[in-house]
C-alpha cells in the first residue's frame, strides 16, 4: 500500500495541469483564440490535453476514439470561443463541450455497449448486504490499477464519468452538475452509487482480499 501511495504521488504530480504564466490564464488564452491566434490554441491544448484525454478515454474506452474527439473538441474551441461568456470556469466550459461530444458518440454506439454487464453489476449493488462491504473495502485499497480499470469498465458511462470528474479532475459538485447537465442532488447520488458499483465490480471481477 505504501509503495502504491508513493507511486501514486509521483504519478499525480507528473500529470497535474502545467502551471500557466500569470499573463496567460485560461480566460485570456480563450480571448486570444477568439482572435484566431494559433499559438494561444496550442498553449490551451497543452494545458488541457492530458486531463481532457483522460476524461474522454474513461468515457469512451477507446484510445483512438478519445484522440479523435479531443481534436474535435479543440476545433470547437477554435470555432466557438466567442460563445464563452465567463459564467463558468473555462475548464468547466471545456469539459461541458467534451461531455456533449462524447455522449453524441456514445448514443450512436449504444448497441455496442454490453448492457448486460452493467445491469448485472448494478443489480448486485442494489442487493448488496451491508456486511459484504468489509472485504470490499480492502479491495479498493489493494487492487492494482489494471484491476481498477477493468472494474471501472463494468460501470455505466454516467457512473464512470462522475467518478472521473470528482476524483481525477477534482471538480466541485456544482461544476460537475453544470458539465453533465444534471441537478446537484443527482450528482451526489450518482457518485455514491458509482462508488458502491465500483466496489462490487472489483469483487465481480474475481478480486479476492
Amino acid at each position: 500500500v505504501l509503495i502504491k501511495t508513493e507511486y501514486l504521488t509521483v504519478m499525480t504530480n507528473s500529470i497535474s495541469l502545467p502551471h500557466l504564466p500569470e499573463e496567460q490564464t485560461d480566460a485570456q488564452l480563450l480571448q486570444r483564440i477568439k482572435q484566431k491566434d494559433r499559438r494561444a490554441l496550442e498553449a490551451f491544448y497543452l494545458h488541457f490535453q492530458r486531463p481532457l484525454f483522460s476524461y474522454l478515454l474513461r468515457l469512451l474506452g477507446q484510445e483512438t476514439l478519445a484522440e479523435d474527439l479531443l481534436q474535435e473538441v479543440m476545433l470547437i474551441v477554435w470555432q466557438q470561443a466567442q460563445r464563452y461568456k465567463g459564467k463558468a470556469t473555462v475548464s468547466c466550459w471545456l469539459f461541458g463541450i467534451a461531455h456533449h461530444q462524447a455522449y453524441k458518440i456514445l448514443r450512436k454506439k449504444t448497441h455496442e455497449i454490453s448492457l448486460e454487464a452493467d445491469l448485472n453489476t448494478l443489480d448486485r449493488v442494489q442487493n448488496l448486504p451491508d456486511a459484504a462491504l468489509t472485504p470490499e473495502d480492502n479491495a479498493l485499497r489493494s487492487a492494482t490499477s489494471a484491476e481498477i480499470n477493468q472494474a471501472l469498465n463494468y460501470l455505466s458511462a454516467e457512473h464512470r464519468e462522475v467518478l472521473e470528474l470528482a476524483f481525477y479532475q477534482e471538480f466541485s459538485c456544482k461544476e460537475i452538475s453544470s458539465i453533465v447537465g444534471i441537478p446537484d442532488g443527482t450528482v451526489k447520488s450518482r457518485l455514491s452509487y458509482a462508488r458502491r458499483a465500483l466496489k462490487t465490480a472489483l469483487l465481480h471481477n474475481g478480486w479476492e482480499g
Partner: protein, 350 residues
C-alpha cells in the same frame, strides 16, 4: 437525563450555518460522553458533503466545520476513509492510462487548415462522390441479388413475343395487316408484363422473401429493384420482337411516338401497375384474374371480330386510348403499392 448544550465560542459563532453547528454539537456529545438518542437522531452527519471534502472542493468554512466534526464522529471518519480510497483508486487507474500521441496538435492544425471555405466545398464534393460510389455499389449488389432470385418463368415467357411476328410473316401475312399485327403485339406485351408484375414474388418458400426477413433492406427497395428488372427486361424483349417487322418491312411500319405512347406504353404501364398493386395488397391470383378480365374485355373492343359493340364496350375501348389518364392511374397505383409494401410485408403466394 439533563443535557447541557455546547458553549459556543466567539470563533464558533462564525459558523452561521445551523447544519454545521449541529455537526460540532455532535462532536461535543461524543467528547463529553453524554448520550441522548433523541438528540443523536436530530444531529445528522454531513454525509453528502464528505465526497467533496475528500476532493477538496468545499468552501473553507464548510471544510473547517467538517474537519472539526470528524474529530469526534467515527462514522464520518470511516466514510471519509472510503471516499479517500475511492479517490486513490481512480487516480491510480488514471495514472496508468496511455499517453497521447505527441504529434496530435499538428493533426489539429491540419484540420484547422482544411476548415477554410474552399476546403469545405472540396470536402463536401469528395464526400458526395464517395457517398455516390458506396451507394452505387450497395444498390448494384442488391440488384444483382434480386436478379438472381427472379422466377425463371418470368424470364422465358416474354420470349414468346419474339416468335409471334416471324410466325405471322412466315404464314404470309400481307403488309396491310401489319397495323393489326402491331396492335396484337402491343396487346400481348402489356398482358405479359402485367402477369410478370403479378408474380414478382414467387412460391410459398421464396428466397427473396427469406432475404427480406433476414436482412434490414427495406421491402420497398427490393420491390423497386425487382420490379425494375422485370419491367425493363419485358420492354427490351418487346422492342426486340419488333425487329423482324422492321427488317422485313422497313417502309411499311408507321411507328410514330404517338402510336408508341398511346397504343403501347400507356396501356402497358397502366395494366402492369394495377397488377402490381393488386398482387401486393391482395394476392397474385386476384391480380391475374383482374388482368385477364380487363384484357379480355379490351380484346373484344380491339379485335371486334365483326361484332357490333355495345355502348359500354365502346366506352371501355375509348378508355384505353386516354394516354394521360392511363399514365395518371399507373402513377397512383405505383405510389399506393409502395405505401402498402412498407406497411405490410405481404408476399404473394402462387
Amino acid at each position: 437525563m439533563q443535557q447541557s448544550g455546547p458553549q459556543w465560542s466567539h470563533e464558533d459563532n462564525r459558523l452561521k450555518d445551523n447544519h454545521l453547528k449541529e455537526a460540532v454539537y455532535q462532536g461535543y456529545v461524543a467528547r463529553s460522553g453524554t448520550f441522548d438518542s433523541a438528540t443523536q437522531v436530530s444531529l445528522a452527519c454531513p454525509k453528502e458533503q464528505l465526497a467533496w471534502y475528500v476532493n477538496d472542493t468545499l468552501p473553507p468554512q464548510q471544510r473547517e466545520a467538517i474537519t472539526e466534526h470528524l474529530r469526534y464522529c467515527a462514522d464520518c471518519r470511516y466514510e471519509v476513509e472510503q471516499w479517500s480510497r475511492t479517490k486513490t483508486a481512480i487516480q491510480l487507474a488514471d495514472a496508468e492510462q496511455p499517453l497521447l500521441r505527441t504529434m496530435l496538435f499538428s493533426a489539429i492544425e491540419q484540420r484547422l487548415d482544411t476548415n477554410t471555405p474552399t476546403a469545405r466545398v472540396r470536402a463536401i464534393v469528395t464526400r458526395a462522390w464517395q457517398n455516390l460510389l458506396v451507394r452505387t455499389r450497395y444498390y448494384s449488389e442488391i440488384l444483382w441479388t434480386q436478379a438472381r432470385q427472379i422466377r425463371v418463368d418470368l424470364l422465358w415467357s416474354p420470349l414468346l413475343l419474339l416468335l409471334i411476328s416471324p410466325s405471322l410473316i412466315m404464314l404470309g401475312y400481307h403488309i396491310h395487316t401489319l397495323s393489326s399485327l402491331l396492335n396484337l403485339q402491343a396487346f400481348l406485351s402489356a398482358l405479359l408484363i402485367a402477369l410478370g408484375m403479378a408474380f414478382l414474388y414467387g412460391q410459398e418458400i421464396d428466397p427473396a422473401y427469406e432475404m427480406i426477413q433476414a436482412t434490414p433492406t427495406e421491402p420497398a427497395l427490393l420491390l423497386l429493384l425487382r420490379g425494375s428488372i422485370v419491367f425493363s427486361y419485358n420492354v427490351l424483349i418487346n422492342l426486340l420482337a419488333l425487329l423482324p417487322l422492321l427488317l422485313t418491312h422497313p417502309g411499311g411500319l408507321q411507328l410514330t411516338p404517338q402510336w408508341i405512347l398511346g397504343n403501347w406504353l400507356a396501356p402497358l404501364c397502366c395494366l402492369a401497375a394495377i397488377s402490381l398493386l393488386l398482387s401486393i395488397v391482395l394476392n397474385a391470383r386476384v391480380a391475374l384474374c383482374v388482368c385477364l378480365l380487363l384484357w379480355g374485355l379490351r380484346a373484344l373492343t380491339l379485335f371486334s371480330f365483326n361484332i357490333s359493340l355495345s355502348s359500354f364496350l365502346y366506352s371501355y375501348g375509348q378508355f384505353w386510348q386516354q394516354t394521360p389518364l392511363l399514365f395518371g392511374i399507373a402513377a397512383i397505383a405505383v405510389i399506393l403499392t409502395f405505401i402498402a409494401v412498407e406497411r405490410k410485408e405481404r408476399i404473394v403466394v402462387l
